[in-house]
Subunit: 246 residues, 2 copies
């Protein structure tokens, strides 16, 4: 059995997220497993670096799969590209060491949340951004982000109430930048809990609107209570930007 | 009657082009005229700087219209934005001098043709580019473009066979640049004939593929024969980039 590492991009707009849930859903994982199983004439299981929610996009999602085949990577990549739908793209394919696993081997992930913060229309990129034309205090958002950065118990920022494993994560950085009418929030961590990025962004947006003080973040973290954090920001603004391995 | 100058952007993908043709079509002009006539409770005619073909996009199309209204520009702009569909955006609205006319007053237009020249997929911007993964000789294309630049009779690059007026235009510049996997051809002229940009691009692409020599451009111009030029490049790669007035 050979082991492969495949890097993908996708416009998640019309998919039910990464993870295959049944036979009737339309997920990225489901599409890939169906394609690879037919192409390689064997049952292929694909592991993603993580599950992106329905409607979330990816600039570079990484996944791995094992298969028996004589095809070289270039030929297999070309076949994958030929059969993928237009809104899922195969960036690269390489043979990976036997123990490589896209999720288990992952060391760090970066998500970018894009906000269109202008009354001017953005007809071309609107599908990958949250439209939020209201005034946002970026300095307050940056102070709140600084308070959230580091190793913390992020239970308050997790939508899964029955999380049995640890909810401690190392949020390595949160960078908030403005480029014209667009605001980008780039979040890097060793891992993210269920909906964690979107709840962090929803909370930071409330800070930006003056509905919360940046100084309250320590108390929200300490509460470990989902009700203390802000709302879950819409999926459409979120893109999995990059995934790092050793 | 007040005179207004409105600047628009649009994703032309699902429209039948700029120009209203009948009552059943879905055109940018038709949408605007319907919206403005209802909003201002009078019959409003909108003049565009030029007609973009079905499927062609605009980053900054300019149009003008006359209407009797007490509304100030900011309020009217806000109403227009409220009622326009998501793929048509109103960038700005200002009151114009009485003699201003978006087409007749226009001095210069720039179109950009975007080409995705890579085997790697581009899932996000594919709808606004022509996918042409083959190798293209940009230096040859630039030599051909230089031969086409200047004041010439562009009859060979015009799809309208029954053009009674002059087919002489001043093609002020053609700039061909590569940015990663993307090639952009920016064409600026005092005016463009019907399909002229797309036939110029189709011809330049043939030069890039080695099917034509850059040195042949003078003969194509001199022929004044549409059959001597290359094919009409697809509409989807074309964007009206900017329009200049005195």
């Amino acid at each position: 059995m050979r082991n492969f590492k495949l890097t993908l991009c996708y416009d998640g707009g019309r998919y039910d997220g990464w993870q295959r849930q049944g036979n009737s859903d339309d997920t990225i994982q489901g599409r890939l497993e169906t394609l690879l199983s037919r192409l390689l004439d064997q049952s292929v299981e694909v592991a993603g670096s993580g599950r992106t929610d329905a409607g979330v996009h990816a600039l570079a999602q990484v996944c791995s799969f094992r298969a028996e085949t004589e095809m070289d990577c270039a030929a297999l990549l070309s076949e994958i590209r030929r059969w993928l739908p237009e809104d899922i793209g195969a960036i690269s394919l390489e043979e990976a060491p036997p123990r490589f696993h896209a999720r288990l081997s992952c060391r760090e992930k970066t998500y970018v949340y894009r906000i269109w913060n202008s009354a001017e229309p953005n007809v071309f990129e609107r599908k990958w951004m949250l439209a939020a034309p209201q005034e946002l205090d970026l300095e307050a958002m940056r102070r709140a982000a600084a308070a959230l950065t580091g190793e913390h118990d992020f239970a308050a920022f997790c939508a899964n109430r029955h999380m049995k494993k640890t909810t401690v994560r190392n949020l390595k950085s949160v960078e908030i930048t403005r480029m014209g009418g667009e605001i980008r929030i780039a979040l890097t961590a060793d891992g993210f809990l269920y909906h964690m990025v979107r709840i962090l962004v929803g909370t930071l947006l409330e800070v930006g609107e003056g509905k919360r003080a940046p100084e309250d973040m320590a108390a929200v973290l300490a509460s470990r209570d989902r009700m203390e954090a802000g709302p879950t920001a819409p999926a459409q603004g979120l893109t999995l930007w990059s995934v790092k391995y050793d």
